[in-house]
């Protein structure tokens, strides 16, 4: 099925505007570890922190023969959704 869709127009990571064609080209060039894809393509590093692209990336890598050992979700980091800095700061200390 993936052969029939327009890969340039199929967006995998909306935050960072990364298409299926971009991901496939990266995999083709030898990037097969999800943590490397995250770092080199910036997929999952935008405001949604991989909620959309994470599973898609995992599926693409698995379909291309990625091993269960390395193809798993990337590290999840707080605060999980963007939180304004002021929300972390309490009133000034005396």
């Amino acid at each position: 099925m993936t052969d029939k869709i327009n890969k340039e127009d199929t967006i995998i990571c909306r935050c960072e505007d990364v298409s299926l064609a971009d991901v496939e080209a990266a995999v083709e060039s030898g990037i097969t570890h999800p943590e490397e894809l995250k770092r080199f393509l910036h997929v999952g590093m935008g405001p949604c922190q991989g909620r959309t692209c994470g599973l898609l990336i995992t599926r693409i890598l698995k379909q291309r023969g990625g091993s269960t050992e390395t193809v798993k979700p990337t590290s999840q980091r707080p605060p999980f959704v963007s939180v304004p800095i002021k929300n972390f700061i309490g009133p000034e200390d005396e």
Binding site: H33, E35, F40, Q49, S82, I85, K86, F88
Partner: protein, 376 residues
């Protein structure tokens, strides 16, 4: 499987990949081994800053060469690595800091660095949003900058591959074989043995373990540091601000508009723990707003942690060890990304030609390790 190479690099961070690239460019048959994934160690967790404002001759000259390499990376490696000379502003809030900076600036200027001490007022023209309360002035170097560590490592590895050399991801070195105080070969967890007359320890936070595999006890240890990045806002060209006060820290605006930064814990935290802590995010939020109050409306996107690979004096160990053919480029003490390109080039030259471009005794394996330098 036993394969012979001209040189083997252990570690897929900035040090390993830069050195690997310069060796491959010299025509050597290089093999690079990374136990996890590229940039998994310190490189991929750094906050992207590249400075030349150091306080010792070898570090200043190395950093200046690195900046030259970063600024030509697009032409040399054929890829844009987001290099920008956004500058570094070292803030002085105390007389003693100001006089240290002025002394160090004189040394840096001897090597031709475009650095000078500027007034608090001038700081405000560079960063209009800066809170200049108690600020006496700053050490300002406009040619310092930033780049994307992921893209730099990718540029080096793509070039290593296009030169026909091999990078093996997920292959962990478990033992090194030494015979007659000369390095012979190494064996990986997968059971492969690779031999080479040159093997480089570029294992960052794991450098001590790798050294010990050859019986070389390197005085390096990992230290925990945390970092965070915000959402992007309009780019205001805010340089790396370094606040040396007790509750200081350092952060820069990335070319993406995001702010990225960290602070050095008051008390060293040894080890390789890369978990995130609530304490850090709250504390860092407060410290960033102390310098730029307007940041309170910017949102924090993500926090993480990584390891500095420390030496007792804060300078790296870049040298051949007492095992012939076994080299180390370790103990970057938080400066691996910024020094990496130049150290990669110097190390490749040293491995092949046995010479350094200038006196590198500060980084030597056999030195006696003294106290930390002023701006280390």
């Amino acid at each position: 499987m036993n394969k012979s190479h001209d040189a083997i690099i252990i570690g897929g961070g900035i040090i390993g990949t830069a050195t690997g690239y310069y060796l491959a460019a010299k025509g050597l048959n290089v093999l690079l081994l990374e136990k996890d994934y590229l940039t998994a160690g310190s490189t991929g967790r750094c906050i992207t800053g590249i400075r030349q404002q150091f306080s010792t001759p070898a570090t200043i000259q190395t950093a200046m060469e690195s900046v030259r390499l970063f600024s030509h990376m697009k032409e040399e490696l054929g890829q844009d690595v987001e290099w920008t000379n956004s500058g570094y502003l070292f803030l002085a809030h105390e007389e003693s800091k100001a006089s240290t900076f002025k002394k160090v600036i004189a040394l840096q200027q001897e090597y031709g660095l475009d650095v000078r001490f500027i007034s608090a007022e001038e700081c405000r023209t560079i960063v209009p949003l800066l809170n200049t309360d108690d600020l006496l002035g700053a050490s300002w170097c406009p040619s310092d900058g930033q780049a994307n560590p992921f893209l730099v490592v990718k540029a080096y590895t793509d070039n290593i591959k296009s030169l026909g050399r091999t990078i093996r991801i997920g292959e962990e070195v478990v033992s090194l074989q030494v015979s007659g105080s000369r390095i012979q070969s190494l064996t990986t967890k997968a059971g492969n043995t690779y031999s080479a007359p040159i093997i480089l320890n570029a294992a960052g936070p794991w450098a001590r373990e790798v050294g010990l595999m050859a019986g070389v006890d390197l005085p390096v240890y990992p230290e925990r540091h945390e970092a965070l990045i915000t959402d992007g806002v309009s780019y205001m060209n805010i340089p790396m601000l370094v606040d040396y006060r007790a509750e200081g820290g350092y952060f820069v605006q990335r070319v993406t508009g995001q702010f990225i930064g960290c602070y050095t814990p008051e008390k060293q935290v040894p080890g390789k723990n890369t978990e995130s802590s609530l304490e850090f995010i709250v504390e860092m939020a407060r410290r960033m707003c102390r310098l730029i109050p307007a940041l309170e409306n910017v949102a924090i996107l993500r926090q993480w942690a990584g390891s500095y690979c420390m030496t007792p004096d804060g300078s790296p160990i870049v040298d051949e060890t007492d095992v012939k053919g076994f080299f180390s480029s370790v103990g970057m003490s938080g400066h691996g990304f910024m020094l990496g390109p130049a150290l990669g080039k110097f190390m490749a030259d040293f491995m092949v030609d046995k010479s350094w471009p200038f006196d590198m005794k500060e980084f030597s394996f056999g030195r006696s390790f003294g106290a930390k330098e002023d701006m280390a």
